[in-house]
């Protein structure tokens, strides 16, 4: 039902989505929530709100590559890291500000993704997943071990906060508004990508890539694009994170973060953008809300994920069952294509 809003013929099926829900969300994000935050005036709440928004963007960008295009991506956090390190290094070495580092973080992450995708995009199913895992680890190890350049485990202090063309946006509220605005714009862009005929072509690859190929869809090229675009948005999120916290270290971008983002997309429902957003909010806010439980909170979070897979195979709002997607990918790995080609390639 994705392309309906763009359909021309005026018949019963034409569905222009109501403006009420987006308006309410915008009101919440840009008016109610900041008012609430200002009322409490605790740095901790701002921190949580910004973190949640950044993970909304990470989850939304993963939605594009895993939920829509069906590529099991296990190294997403590394591109988030590439973005964050780009911002931090540009700031600390060249003294550049947020206005410049934001787009550059996205572009550098996209460029790295494009380069590593070149040899991996012909890998199918689970082999691709393992390749992304390896890519994620490689990038993480570069951040950790290239001490001369990245300062390794010591991390980098990002001395500059948010600004727009020299106009300072620091201060708690300014930072919140900057993060909220960038995340909202990015999510709208991702929404346009996934709710379009282009998005349908990506979905067809998720459903049956050989069949999509027979319909004229350039599967390899589109997979590359989805991978690169999602890395771009992860890089944007990385830049937000770097300027928000003022300090980054490799630990922020390790494998477990990739899995956390994947879990957000799965809990929310593969293929659904609202699902990815809700999943991100759930998995960021739930552990914070459960702080009273002490060490038990992580067990609770794990339980929520476990139950959601068990009871809601399609997540909260998903189009595809995550289990089925993984099972099919595993199955495809061992299915001989009968073409005398190496298994795992296409």
């Amino acid at each position: 039902m994705n392309a309906f809003e763009t359909m021309a013929p005026a018949d019963g099926l034409t569905r222009r989505r109501g403006l009420l829900v987006p308006a309410l969300i915008l009101l919440l994000v840009f008016a109610a929530l900041p008012a609430l935050l200002a009322g409490f005036d605790k740095g901790y709440f701002y921190q949580i709100a910004n973190l949640a928004l950044i993970f909304v963007l990470l989850s939304a960008s993963m939605h594009l590559v895993t939920g829509v295009a069906g590529l099991l991506h296990l190294g997403h956090a590394a591109f988030y890291g590439v973005g964050a390190y780009t911002a931090a290094l540009l700031t600390s070495k060249l003294g550049l500000g947020f206005t410049v580092t934001l787009p550059l973080s996205g572009l550098v992450a996209a460029l790295v993704a494009f380069l590593v995708a070149l040899p991996t995009m012909r890998l199918v199913s689970i082999y691709f997943a393992v390749a992304t895992l390896a890519i994620g680890q490689m990038l993480y190890l570069v951040m950790l071990n290239w001490v001369d350049f990245t300062k390794g485990p010591n991390g980098i202090i990002v001395s500059k906060g948010f600004e727009l063309f020299g106009f300072s946006l620091s201060g708690r509220l300014g930072a919140y508004y900057t993060v909220a605005a960038v995340v909202t714009l990015s999510v709208v862009a991702i929404g346009r990508l996934s709710h379009s005929y282009y998005g349908n072509a990506l979905r067809s690859i998720r459903e049956d890539d050989q069949c999509a190929d027979a319909m004229g869809v350039s599967t390899v090229r589109l997979k590359m694009e989805a991978f690169t675009l999602s890395a771009f948005f992860a890089g944007i999120a990385g830049s937000l994170w770097a300027h928000m916290t003022g300090y980054i270290s490799p630990g922020d971008f390790k494998f477990s973060e990739s899995i956390l983002i994947l879990a957000m997309v799965v809990v929310g429902g593969l293929g659904s953008l609202p699902g990815a957003i809700i999943g991100a909010l759930l998995l960021i806010l739930l552990p914070e809300g459960l702080r009273a439980l002490g060490d038990f909170r992580n067990i609770m979070v794990g339980l929520v994920m476990f139950l959601s897979i068990l009871l809601l195979p399609k997540g909260l709002l998903g189009e595809v069952s995550a289990l089925r997607l993984v099972r099919r990918q595993l199955g495809a790995a061992w299915r001989n294509t009968g073409k005398g080609e190496g298994i795992g390639w296409r």
Binding site: M1, A8, Y197
Partner: protein, 256 residues
């Protein structure tokens, strides 16, 4: 005059098995050609060779005067060859409309840029409108407009067959390949399908169909190719093929 589709000395081996051996055939613009043969005769392999799914071991395939052997399936598809699959491959977790729109967007690509900014300029809007128009037209042709919003997985088997054909039609192909469209259909449904294929052909579409159902093939095709053990053993009108000694032998076995 050149043929629309020209298959020259095409062969394909799978390990030690010669699936298709030295087949030469052609299809002219506007024809409705049947491809029959016993199980394992290489019919589907021949289709896969034409549509680029399986690389050739030998020979060439030319379409509209251009060599297409060696091209990727999506490239072949964009040149105007569209197909359906023997084992029914719709996109189950997508709506009927979205399924068919993939055919349209495959032939008329919308890129990431178009998806992001297409609404802002005229060319982008025209492109979207055209994709939508082709999708609705294809849905109308198979009579599935009333279930356009339904998930493909929820359709009954017969409708999914038509959905697959609609998706192929949305590409506006010059040449349509149907791989066993009547498989799994009952007699009434098969008759309806035959009438539908004839109607498509009547609108000027060149069609090739692989089929087990003899009455369907004999009833609507103008010309029939017969494969047996990967080789072409007959090529002619339904009547000529029906009485061909080699064909009878291939289907019924030799009486010794």
């Amino acid at each position: 005059m050149t043929h629309l589709l020209e298959i020259r000395n095409v062969s394909r081996r799978f390990g030690g098995v010669q699936a298709v051996g030295d087949v030469t055939a052609h299809v002219d613009e506007g024809e409705l050609v049947g491809l029959i043969g016993p199980n394992g005769a290489g019919k589907t392999t021949l289709f896969n060779l034409i549509s680029g799914f399986t690389p050739l071991s030998g020979g060439t395939v030319a379409f509209a005067g251009r060599t297409i052997s060696g091209l990727k399936p999506n490239h072949v598809a964009r040149l105007g060859i569209s197909r359906t699959f023997q084992n029914l491959r719709v996109f189950p977790n997508m709506s009927v409309f979205d399924n068919v729109s993939v055919g349209a967007v495959g032939a008329l690509p919308q890129g990431a840029f178009g998806a992001l900014f297409g609404g802002l300029h005229r060319r982008g809007r025209d492109r979207s409108a055209e994709i939508s128009r082709r999708t609705w037209e294809a849905l109308e042709a198979v009579g599935l407009t009333h279930v356009a919003a339904e998930l493909a997985a929820n359709l009954p088997y017969g409708q999914r067959k038509y959905l697959e054909i609609a998706r192929a039609l949305a590409m506006r192909p010059r040449f349509l390949i149907l791989d066993e469209p009547a498989a799994g259909l009952n007699d009434t449904e098969t008759r309806d399908l035959a009438a539908f294929i004839k109607r498509l052909h009547g609108q000027g579409l060149t069609i090739m169909l692989v089929e087990h159902d003899m009455t369907l093939v004999m009833g609507i095709c103008q010309r029939i190719l017969v494969l047996a053990s990967g080789r072409k053993i007959a090529d002619g009108t339904p009547d000529a093929v029906r009485n061909d000694a080699a064909v009878l032998e291939a289907y019924l076995g030799v009486d010794e």
